[in-house]
């Protein structure tokens, strides 16, 4: 049975990729561009050159974690659209730690900074979790609204108390000390945040499938009423799932700041929180799927710049592509059915 599901799952993933690439190719062709050359350029520059590949992986790093921000709550039957806000709050608290930890060595400072980021994101997930557990506000609404609040709070600190004096025109905090920065791999731009993302994906898989807690959380997602009657603390799991999700996005936020920007400012996310949500939906909350889909989304974003440079395709085309992916997400039930029947036939 499990094998059947796996086959159906991989078929679905494959189908998504083929659909996305196919529709985009059509779009390019309709606009008088050469889709084959576009794919060739994207592959040549972003996959076949180390430099390009690192770039794709750097972009994947936050996506792995923001996808988990949606995946944890999803397993408990919750929809967390607040990855973007949790990303910002994680960056905020992590920055506070980075700028205030007194001269400790890097191997202590970095974990403290990351932990502070996770706490910040977790806090931003705890609020909607609590509101939902009490039955006051639907978490989809509250997480969405908190997305608007978080950058304003970051803005207050960046424009106000934390503003670096030398940056007259561009409000941002002072630079992180070297010990608070996430190390990169050799001379590449690939930083340890990517591996932290993989590590948490594994932890997520283990937690969900191999622990009693994971079972309880999934039961809450499956049938809250039955779980309650069986003695599962439903409210606690609702809050916890949101906190865990928020912590993942918060980690993504501070990792991005500590590895790429080295300073907190408002322009730290081109929508990583939202893209992570997209990744999780495309992947059906499956950890391997999350790796694959964040790779695809990261490749599209990198490819967007490549195509601008090599073929003068406006960046708006990439936005069209991401919108197309959303349609694919909406068509997921249909593609699921198709994939299942394909898998069955393939087995037969």
């Amino acid at each position: 049975m499990d094998k059947n599901r796996l086959a159906a799952g991989s078929f679905r993933l494959l189908l998504h990729v083929v659909l996305i690439v196919g529709v985009f190719a059509l779009f390019l062709w309709a606009n008088g561009k050469d889709p084959i050359q576009a794919v060739r350029d994207t592959v040549r520059i972003n996959l076949l050159q180390w430099r390009g590949l690192w770039g794709v992986m750097v972009r994947m790093a936050p996506l792995l974690l923001t996808a988990l921000a949606a995946a944890f709550p999803f397993r408990a039957g919750l929809i967390n659209v607040g990855g973007e806000g949790q990303f910002f709050l994680g960056a905020l608290l992590g920055t506070w730690a980075a700028l205030n930890v007194p001269g400790l060595p890097q191997w202590i400072t970095v974990p403290i900074v990351l932990l502070a980021g996770a706490v910040g994101g977790g806090l931003w997930g705890w609020i909607p979790g609590l509101l939902r557990a009490r039955g006051w506000v639907n978490e989809t609404i509250s997480t969405l609204l908190l997305n608007y609040l978080a950058p304003l709070i970051v803005g207050y600190f960046v424009f106000g108390p934390w503003r670096a004096p030398e940056l007259a025109i561009y409000p941002q905090t002072p630079e992180f000390p070297d010990v608070a920065r996430l190390p990169a791999l050799g001379t590449t731009r690939l930083h340890v945040g990517f591996f932290i993302g993989l590590l948490f994906l594994f932890a997520y898989w283990f937690f969900i499938h191999k622990t009693r807690w994971g079972l309880e959380m999934r039961s809450v997602g499956g049938n809250p009423e039955a779980s309650r009657r069986l003695g599962v603390p439903v409210s606690r799991w609702v809050v916890l799932a949101m906190v865990l999700g928020g912590a993942m996005a918060g980690l993504a936020g501070i990792a991005e700041v500590a590895a790429v920007h080295y300073r907190l400012k408002l322009a730290i996310s081109p929508g990583y929180g939202f893209m992570g949500f997209l990744v999780n939906w495309l992947a059906g909350s499956n950890p391997v799927g999350i790796v694959l889909m964040s790779f695809v989304v990261a490749l599209i974003a990198s490819g967007g710049f490549t195509l601008q440079i090599t073929q003068r395709i406006p960046y708006a085309a990439v936005n069209v592509l991401l919108a197309l992916i959303l349609f694919v997400v909406l068509a997921k039930p249909a593609s699921g059915i198709l994939a299942k029947s394909l898998a069955r036939r393939w087995k037969a």
């Binding site: 390009g52 030398e166 025109i169 561009y170 731009r189 080295y262 996310s269 601008q308």
Partner: protein, 354 residues
């Protein structure tokens, strides 16, 4: 197999052909907004296009809407494609570009408005504050209510400097002018810009200036209200306010980009902070709008000429701040290097410099 050989051959022939007509220089630029924003990004893009026109042997690489976190990757991509001169054309790209400059010492970086230098990293910008004084003169002559308005993105030194210059220019020809200053809190937010413009118009301001990434929304709002508008930082914004248009300032770096490209080619380029004004064509005064009387045009042009010749000093003391403190003493004058020091507004301006 045959096909593989054919593809390989085709690639080989292709690369040989590419070598045969190699560009003399590959130049790359990234911008944070869109190339048609009638503002900051468009002025950068137009300079790049001017370079392309004047030096046809140059190959251009260009990308828009590049987030700061992606800047390093996109610029590195351009370097991989042979770029030897890069314009990371947004203030927020300074640090990513400096990182790259360290790793690629044979690539020249020219950054707009940055305050840091490296051996292969220089900066350029226009002395906007001084030129804005001329728009102030125009506003002071055109206003009927003796109240003019200025919309800034963020309350930072260069924005405050432009507003101060706008006010001082207006006062120079009309001692009764008062200026109202508002900020939107961000470089681009059309909804807030419309709200800010309407607030200024309702307070009786009838000439509106601004310092934003893209002043399209302001221009359209002023046009609809029938008031007057001065444009900055691209003259392309004129078409959004054809009747409200008084004049404007455009950042014009096309010839300068050509010089830089030549220097890189001749290996005479040297890292420096380059700041020039109207006199060097780094910034250009636009044409006048249809409702501007001849005597106003003459007066504005006269001031522009005096400024170019260095015969007037917009920031010559005595200048007082809003609270009446003497900020620039008599006999003293602030020059181009002092423009980053403004954290105050000149007496006669309403609004907060914080």
């Amino acid at each position: 197999m045959k096909r593989v050989v054919a593809v390989l051959l085709a690639t080989l022939v292709g690369s040989v052909a590419a070598v045969a007509q190699q560009p003399c220089l590959v130049v790359g630029m990234i911008i944070g907004g869109t190339k048609d924003d009638a503002g900051y990004n468009q002025s950068q893009y137009e300079a790049l296009m001017a370079l392309k026109d004047k030096m046809p042997c140059v190959k251009i690489l260009f990308a828009e809407n590049v987030p700061e976190g992606d800047a390093e990757a996109v610029l590195e991509n351009m370097i991989a494609q042979g770029a030897k001169l890069l314009f990371p054309a947004g203030f927020g790209y300074m640090f990513p570009a400096l990182n790259l400059a360290k790793r690629y010492p044979d690539v020249v970086f020219m950054h707009p408005g940055g305050y840091m230098l490296a051996a292969n990293f220089g900066t350029y910008f226009s002395n906007v504050q001084f030129a804005y004084y001329v728009l102030g003169v125009a506003a002071g002559l055109m206003t009927k209510t003796n109240k003019i308005g200025f919309i800034g993105g963020l309350p930072v030194a260069f924005v405050l400097g432009n507003c101060n210059a706008f006010h001082l220019g207006a006062r120079a020809v009309n001692p009764n002018v008062e200026t109202v200053f508002v900020v939107t809190g961000t470089w681009l937010d059309r909804a807030k810009e419309v709200a800010a413009t309407q607030a200024l118009l309702q307070q009786g301001c009838d000439v509106i200036g601004s310092h934003l990434d893209s002043p399209i929304a302001v221009a359209q709002t002023v046009e609809a209200a029938g008031a007057f508008f001065v444009g900055y930082p691209s003259l392309a914004v004129q078409k959004f306010a054809p009747n409200a248009w008084v004049s404007g300032l455009g950042l014009t770096w096309g010839d300068f980009f050509v010089d830089i490209a030549q220097q890189v080619l001749n290996k005479t380029w040297k890292s420096a902070h380059i700041r020039k004004g109207l006199e060097a064509g780094f910034i250009t005064l636009g044409e006048f709008g249809p409702r501007v009387p001849e005597e106003v045009k003459a007066k504005v042009l006269e001031y522009a000429e005096l400024l170019k010749a260095g015969k007037i000093e917009p920031f010559a003391g005595p200048i007082y701040d809003q609270a009446g403190n003497l900020k620039i003493a008599a006999g003293e004058a602030w020059g181009a290097l002092d423009m980053g020091k403004f954290d105050w507004l000149v007496q006669g301006i309403t609004g907060s410099p914080k």
